[in-house]
Symmetry: C2
Subunit: 768 residues, 2 copies
């Protein structure tokens, strides 16, 4: 204990002014930690020794005070790693955890961090700050958990970085079951939500506030000043399901999803930035269900998502909706927002499915249009005129439009009552922030009921004087530097820079398996010409390219056992295979995921290759997922089965890949499951997967296909089959397209190959 004086001194220097700690307790192992927690008093500062803490379940139970919380923290911020089967839970009040890094592991329970230790011991006024959680995923995708779950009241998650959740379950969730957790005033602020990969199906939200079962409860949670970057988990980034939540001043940056008021009412969505790129149609805006929300002062840039993903998506409800479905939109205010170069930013009646009355029960039909809703004082600008800035999937006759303008660069709109044409330019504030200059526009803001409660604008200027329509008042705007990442997340944490991979030359005489094993993420394995006989699966557990070193294809002959793959796609295994001949023994597989414990996604891109003599070309097992699977310029022949991505048969909206692309390939004598890609369950809010089959030729395939269909893609929402030739395939249908969704075909040539049929409505199992 010699150093204790020094340590205490340093600690006292580090601690912020309003949190007095009087006693530092340094702990080196689990039992010391346990003992320190047991004895902790207000003002104690429990310090974890730098290093890796493995398989540790921290139950932080204690009672601090507002002035003197109990703090648990790293000796050096970011130098304490929580790994293995570990978690953290709070029980008590005024407890703060900081500076920890969760990685290389997963929680043994339903939560990595829980603001309770059990159902009776909840936390209040507890805080997690300056921590990081990366890739702390359960081994199986369907083994859902939450990385941070709030219970109790007045708890806070701030200045943390969370990224890489691939298993089911929202990253952060607020639970409201029980009166101890209502009116919670939790704060989720100043965090950096880093990339959350596409999950494939539901339960991939970044933040979820409650559930339909507690959707009547006042929550009063604040989500403010966070940075959401590539939060692509599912169609909802934030799913607000309770009442009186505030979502303010956040940045949604290139995130494939929307802020959704899914259940509950009276959400305030104020002063957020939604930044897209004008190319990716999956970046969304704000989608509205239910009553009493205010959407004000928000800025949308190059968000071109449509329908569910449109910048403003106002849904149709189900009349007298069941608790867990869609209530009608009523009493909503959309005011003072600015939309720059967005596509059809105002969409109403989103989700209407009146046309599907024949296949759905009455309690599923979204026919109730928004009522008592005001859209006022908004500004739309399009560099290139938009012909349909307002899209009515169902009539917006319950919406009052007032003082909205559109700068449409000369494109005349019939709809000039709802959107008044105006001529104005943009002021460039920063790369992504271009604000309308309305000095020449003479439109008075509409003063709706309670509009005087909108005190400030997007950047915090008062609306009292110089008020104007759009997200900002008439004033000089300084660059808010929304992309300055130092403003969000843990101070000490930097995301790894992408390192350029090196090229590793390999010859047939080398041990290919070893070369792959020793390669680093991003490397290129360059195969010299020749034959590589492989008897055991090559393990792909990182991002790797394998390609022939010259135009002459290297030849990989896989002699491995029945139903083992040439390339075993492990968690993180993203393989790019180029210009290679790959053959099997007719009973084994070209590519396959692991059968279980796929704790992270895989990926596959094959081009310029020849694949033959396998039982399966690709076999994805249940609970595995690839963001993309692509075959280009590749021939596939003499295989028992083709591309098999159809294991998510639980009909909960899940599927095995987000994007399956077949471009300029030939399929010859693939006997069944030529393409088998499945998503099941009636779930209007799962709006993937995506199948593109183009410029390809299928000959003599599907001979053993039991369902007589060549391309099986039942339930996949986006399907495009074009410019292909189907010849002598003994099947009844090449494809059955789902007309009500985005399933299309064009310019296909069918010779002795059945036909392509469109079914407007697919009968699916109800998920809810």
């Amino acid at each position: 204990m010699k150093n204790s004086f020094l340590i205490i001194s340093i600690f006292l220097l580090l601690i912020s002014c309003n949190e007095k700690t009087t006693n530092a307790v340094f702990v080196e192992n689990k039992s010391e930690l346990k003992e320190a927690i047991k004895n902790a008093k207000p003002g104690d500062d429990i310090v974890l020794k730098d290093g890796i803490w493995k398989d540790v379940e921290i139950k932080f139970v204690g009672k601090g005070t507002k002035e003197s919380p109990i703090i648990l923290r790293a000796e050096t911020a970011g130098k304490v790693f929580i790994e293995g089967v570990s978690n953290l839970s709070f029980g008590g009040e005024y407890l703060t955890v900081k500076d920890l890094h969760f990685r290389n592991g997963y929680s043994p329970t339903k939560e990595v961090i829980a603001f309770r230790t059990d159902s009776k011991n909840l936390a209040s006024n507890c805080r997690v700050t300056n921590c990081v959680i990366v890739d702390f995923n359960k081994l199986q995708r369907d083994n859902d958990d939450f990385w941070v779950q709030f219970y109790g009241r007045h708890n806070q998650l701030d200045h943390c970085y969370l990224a890489g959740k691939t298993n089911g379950g929202p990253t952060v969730r607020v639970d409201l079951k029980g009166i101890q957790s209502i009116k919670n005033y939790h704060k989720i602020v100043n965090n950096h939500f880093g990339p959350r990969p596409r999950k494939g199906g539901a339960r991939g939200e970044t933040i979820q506030l409650g559930s339909s079962f507690t959707s009547m409860s006042p929550s009063n949670t604040t989500i403010a000043n966070n940075f959401f970057e590539e939060c692509n988990g599912e169609v909802e980034i934030i799913s607000s399901k309770t009442n009186f939540n505030e979502i303010k001043n956040n940045v949604f940056y290139k995130s494939e999803g929307s802020v959704v008021t899914r259940h509950g009412n009276y959400t305030m969505i104020d002063g957020n930035y939604f930044i897209g790129d004008g190319e990716n149609e999956n970046y969304g805006g704000i989608r509205i269900v239910n009553t009493g929300h205010w959407i004000v002062n928000n800025y949308f840039y190059k968000i071109i998502g449509e329908n569910f993903r449109s910048p403003l998506a106002v849904m149709n409800g189900i009349p007298k909706s069941p608790l867990n479905r869609y209530n009608q939109v009523t009493d909503v205010v959309v005011a003072y927002n600015t939309y720059v170069d967005c596509k059809s930013p105002f969409q109403f009646g989103v989700g209407t499915n009146i046309a599907q009355s024949a296949v759905l029960p009455k309690s599923e039909i979204r026919s109730a249009r928004p009522i008592r809703t005001t859209v006022a004082n908004n500004v739309i600008y399009n560099s290139k005129g938009d012909e349909t800035p307002i899209v009515e999937h169902d009539k917006a006759d319950g919406v009052l439009f007032k003082s909205n303008i559109i700068g449409n660069n000369g494109l005349y709109l019939k709809d000039d009552i709802r959107l008044k044409p105006a001529s104005f330019t943009l002021d460039t504030i920063s790369e992504n922030i271009m604000l309308p200059n309305l000095s020449s526009v003479d439109v008075e803001p509409y003063n709706g009921f309670d509009f005087d409660l909108i005190k400030t604008d997007l950047v915090g200027n008062s609306r009292e004087n110089n008020n104007a329509i759009g997200a900002t008042v008439k004033a000089d705007i300084t660059n808010p530097n929304i992309l300055d990442k130092s403003k969000y997340g843990a101070t000490w944490f930097k995301v790894d820079a992408i390192v350029e991979g090196k090229t590793i030359k390999v010859s047939p005489s080398d041990n290919l398996s070893e070369k792959i094993k020793s390669a680093n993420k991003g490397d290129i394995i360059s195969l010299n010409e020749g034959k590589y006989v492989v008897s055991k699966s090559l393990i792909i557990d990182k991002n790797l390219t394998i390609q022939s070193s010259s135009e002459n294809k290297a030849e990989i002959v896989f002699e491995g056992a029945e139903n083992t793959p040439a390339f075993a796609l492990n968690p993180y295994g993203v393989l790019t295979l180029k210009n290679v001949k790959l053959s099997g023994n007719g009973k084994n597989q070209a590519f396959a995921s692991l059968k279980e414990n796929m704790s992270n996604h895989f990926g596959l891109s094959v081009s310029g290759s020849e694949i033959s003599n396998f039982n399966y070309v690709l076999k994805a097992y249940k609970q595995t997922f690839a963001e993309t699977v692509t075959f280009k310029n590749t021939s596939i022949s003499n295989c028992e089965n083709g591309i098999e991505l159809s294991e998510e048969t639980n009909d909960r909206g899940d599927y095995n890949t987000e994007f399956l692309t077949i471009d300029n390939c030939t399929f010859n004598n693939v006997k069944q499951n030529v393409i088998d890609y499945y998503r099941g369950g009636y779930d209007e809010s799962t709006i993937g997967g995506n199948l593109l089959v183009t410029n390809s030729t299928f000959t003599n395939c599907g001979a053993k296909e039991q369902n007589k269909m060549l391309l099986n893609h039942r339930g996949i929402v986006n399907v495009n089959i074009n410019n292909n030739t189907f010849k002598n395939n003994k099947i009844q249908f090449v494809s059955i397209l789902w007309g009500a969704k985005n399933n299309v075909e064009s310019n296909n040539t069918l010779i002795n190959s059945g036909k392509i049929k469109t079914e407007e409505n697919l009968v699916m199992k109800l998920m809810y």
Copy 2:
């Protein structure tokens, strides 16, 4: 204008200190009133001349201030009568109406008093005080209206007396459609809600707060310090359908209904008195649906209602209920209540209908038990031990019971964990208030989450010190004089005392019709022996008894036209007929309501009489209602039709009489509709009518009955058929009883008369 100085002086004296009025404007007619309103400024005092104001629609539009409201009032409180086709509406702010009496008329619109003039002009900070509305009913029962409807915010109804509403629609209602009307903080305080007669079916609430369609909205309405007397309109006295309402310190006195949290959540029901008589099973307590309600400090005396009407009725919900049905009970607190001589005060799983799964859709099955609910610190006392103080219609396994005691006078209960037996006596505070003396009982109050927010007890004593279980703390309690009616309603209004009727002797030579016409309410028409030939219907439009003056029955021979009645039961016509022979010509009717415009109820009680040769004995037309219809010791013979109360065929839960009683009667040769009494529509919350058929004999009846049933009572909830003889009636069934409801029979003798069948579940039309 000579008197203006005097008038102004008097006004200034009358006006309360914090409401400054500077200018009195005396108006004598409608146009002056209109002009005065048009010109009104803050501080104006518009004075209506004493007298009857007929057919006046007052649109009170203006803008007062908090310090200087605009007042509209009677010259003398209670001397201005609003009559005819009249109403009052507010548009603006800080407007007060006082001292008016609405009577002898009805509103031309949906409201008698509306806190808006149209959908765009709502009232805020407006007030109705010291006013009276009596019997201001629409002419037709199904022509629903509200006597007072709130819109906007911060409006108030106080010190008013409202009684006698018989048509459909809650007496007072708060509307929440639109953001202008949420968070309204309306106050309904210090009013006297006088008798509201049974309506027969739904839509007879005394106060309704919102609807299921606005059940997600914060309302924050307060209902406090009111006196509810004989509010018997329907099963709900107060129907709370929105959030955060407060129902505090009210007295529910002999009112046939309950306070119900029908939709919406987080209602505070605190410190109310529920006073019954230990005899009437229709007096109810508090019925709970939905989430987050607190039921604290309430006092229940001799409330013996069961099931829906029990002192505490906690309902089962429908899993994932549709918006307009039954949400599960969650997060409810029932604490510190006292129950004295109530029957089975705690009932759980009320409304469970799992057994009816065969006849109801899944979305109607109430199978979701209460969860996360706490019942603590309650005291039950029974002078005579209650064997089942807790009734579980479905299991109460989601309820936490803590520190509840029962003084059951020696009756041993197995259930001593949930209700701890204790021995204690009562202190008599007043006639209806008997409070447990717990000086010898040692039970610490359970300190549940947020229980420290329960600051005071039933009578306002602090719970900080001397806290105790039950509605009151340990302290000397002074009589709260809850029945002192001077504390409630309009200061100037007294309910008419009941005047003893006089007896009017009538001989066959007199004009009976004129005698009836000139009689007063409550009089007795005493018929001397002899034959009274009547050629036109006798108008009964008040409470009247007609009886023979001696044991020898007077004989009334009705020679009126086909399908006209001997006794025409008009609005308010409540006829007691005793000891009379009444005969017709075979084509006319003995008793009938009007065919339309029955703006108030009728009633009929026949005893010791002989009725013969009519087409109908009683014909009640659509939209007419009698609280009771009774036949005792009476013979009915040779009629085409019997007692016909089956016109409410719209299947909305309505019916024509609450109680139909047949006791010791004989029915001979009544060819069809011998008894025809109907209620239609699946509506679990309409829990009437009531049919009793006892000690009677039916012979040779039903010969022309098309449905082959003697006693038709489809849909009637309470049916008791006992000790009757049915002989030689050519029908298939005497009765088909509804087993799932309260339909029973016993000791009936059936000779050549078909049979009595019980059907457990009746298939009925869904109302919702």
